[in-house]
């Protein structure tokens, strides 16, 4: 049986058209885009085209795009670059406003800045995982240099009211950053509609190559580089340009733009079918995240009485790839900080799976996954002491929340 891949929020396969665009730069056209001879100029032109393609997908100017090694670097660059510029001047320590449900690339950078003396406010979220703009308004003060709230959460898919928060940030003269890594290619992303100054994206989430991303920097935004070196990226990011990856990112963005409306609708339909199937065929489940303001491809489900990683491993045995809502499965033993922020008990935050669909997901795959899931959940529950107690009436219908 072929492998069913429902983990597109982790990474997407390279689109064959993207690989095709990259191939010449992996074969003959190997020039250094900063070299001045023909091979170099050829590379430079390809990079320029890609920059236009990326800019165009988010409604930016090409000169506002800085290529990075991925979403994580873009997030680090945004936070540290802005804070580095402020520090120099003011007497009061700079203040950063972010949310409790950001990706670790933002959260851990924020914590590091906190250790270095920066003040950080972490905005709470409601039970659907949404930041309230009012909370942002109260958190922002005169020392606030930067507000960073993600566009869509990677674990539960909840879409954040970024435009509303950006408007408040602008009023208060704070720079606004959004981590749009999960939003790109799934919902429309436009830097002006969002009103953001900085925006992070990553190619491997939109069927592009790994190891390349970008930070959008609105013209005039005061921000220091993160990686110092040569004059590449107009001196905003040193390092030999990763030409094949940049070319692939450009092509991936072009495709994403063309396919966005159609694939979002398709994936939402399939996702809803999966959601409904789970509700109908499996007892004691809860759907996490916002009912409507959610990425079209994402479904986060809690299965009471069982632990996520054992579900994941059992699904993997049946050749279905998903991920746990919590990252227990990937080396971090803490329950999901996102679910905790949404108000879940640690135990409830544990039995959670994230299904994230993609362009190639089919109806048959949905049907297969449903069948497998019914079987696997039953199998793992049969092993669970909590489920046993529940069946025997020794336990209430679980520590679930919803």
């Amino acid at each position: 049986m072929a492998y069913i891949y429902f983990d597109h929020n982790a990474t997407t396969p390279l689109d064959p058209a993207v690989l095709e665009a990259m191939m010449p730069f992996l074969h003959e056209a190997h020039g250094n885009a900063s070299s001045f001879h023909s091979p170099g100029r050829e590379a430079r032109e390809a990079v320029d085209l890609a920059r236009k393609q990326v800019a165009s997908l988010i409604g930016a100017q090409p000169a506002e795009i800085v290529f990075t090694s991925g979403g994580t670097e873009a997030d680090n660059h945004a936070l540290r670059g802005v804070i580095a510029r402020v520090k120099a001047g003011a007497g009061q320590p700079p203040h950063l406003v972010t949310s409790a449900i950001e990706h670790p690339a933002v959260l851990n950078t924020a914590q590091m800045l906190e250790q270095q003396g920066c003040a950080v406010s972490y905005l709470p979220v409601d039970e659907y995982g949404r930041v309230r703009p009012e909370d942002a308004r109260s958190a922002i003060n005169d020392a606030t240099a930067l507000v960073s709230v993600m566009l869509a959460n990677n674990e539960v898919g909840t879409i954040q009211p970024v435009a509303a928060i950006a408007a408040i940030a602008r009023e208060r003269k704070a720079i606004m950053h959004t981590d749009a890594v999960q939003g790109l290619g799934r919902i429309p992303v436009d830097v002006d509609a969002l009103g953001v100054d900085l925006l992070s994206i990553s190619a491997h989430k939109v069927y592009g190559p790994k190891g390349i991303g970008a930070l959008y920097i609105r013209r005039g935004t005061r921000i220091a580089p993160l990686i110092y070196g040569g004059h590449q990226e107009r001196r905003r990011r040193g390092g030999t340009e990763n030409v094949p990856a940049i070319v692939g990112f450009g092509r991936a963005c072009e495709l994403a733009g063309e396919l966005l409306a159609e694939s979002a609708a398709r994936e939402a339909r399939l996702r809803d079918r999966l959601e409904q199937g789970i509700r109908e065929r499996i007892e004691h489940v809860r759907i996490n995240g916002h009912p409507s303001e959610r990425l079209p491809n994402t479904l986060n489900v809690g299965f009471t009485f069982v632990e996520g990683e054992s579900l994941l491993m059992n699904l993997d045995i049946e050749r279905v790839a998903v991920s746990t809502g919590s990252a227990c499965s990937s080396g971090d033993l803490q329950p999901s900080h996102v679910l905790l922020a949404m108000g879940f008990e640690a135990e409830a935050a544990h039995g959670t799976l994230r299904f994230s669909l993609g362009r190639r997901t089919t109806e048959e795959e949905i049907a297969t996954v449903l069948d497998v899931l019914v079987r696997v959940v039953a199998r793992v529950r049969a092993m669970s002491p909590m489920y046993r107690d529940f069946i025997k009436g020794r336990r209430p219908a679980a520590a679930s929340k919803a």
Partner: protein, 175 residues
């Protein structure tokens, strides 16, 4: 983290001795407040020898594999030999566990001790947490045990391989 060994995967795929013993001679349940993982072990004892063992586990893949392997290892052992079974031995029988998952094997050892203690108690014997019967220094051992539990809990919060001085990292999946 590192992937599981083939042995671990095999026990996840086909866990041995899952379930409940209807009239067990001993039952032990150990839970971890942080990850919420729980293991319950049932044993049947005849002539001081464990003749059957079954488990129920709410936990990660490692916890399930450990539970399953543990039941295989204890069946047939005398109580004394069973008490000598360390979590490290269970992990080794699984060809190892990823470093961050080593602590999951403690759940197995603890559940086994608890089940034996329960069996002993029914026999009117006091099994100290240290594994000695009628141990003279029981209060100290119990205190030591509580410390160990705290360490186990801490293991769920702290990345074993974190570089020194790295700032605490946010939980949550990284993609």
């Amino acid at each position: 983290m590192e992937p599981y060994t083939e042995k671990v995967m095999d026990h996840i795929r086909n866990p041995r001795n899952v379930g409940e013993i209807d009239d067990p001679d001993g039952v032990g349940e150990i839970g971890n407040p942080i990850c919420g993982d729980v293991m319950r072990l049932y044993i049947k004892v005849e002539d001081n020898r464990i003749t059957d063992a079954k488990f129920q586990t709410f936990g990660c893949g490692a916890a399930i594999a450990v539970s399953s392997m543990l039941t295989e290892l204890v069946i047939g052992k005398t109580i004394e030999d069973a008490l000598r079974l360390s979590n490290r031995a269970v992990a080794e029988a699984l060809d190892g566990l990823p470093p961050v998952k080593m602590h999951c094997s403690a759940l197995g050892e603890d559940a086994l001790r608890a089940a034996i203690r329960d069996y002993m108690a029914k026999q009117g014997q006091q099994l100290c947490v240290c594994g000695e019967l009628d141990c003279p220094c029981r209060p100290e051992c119990e205190e030591r045990e509580r410390t160990r539990e705290r360490a186990h809990a801490a293991a769920h919060g702290i990345e074993v391989e974190a570089p020194e001085d790295s700032p605490a990292t946010a939980g949550g999946s990284t993609n």
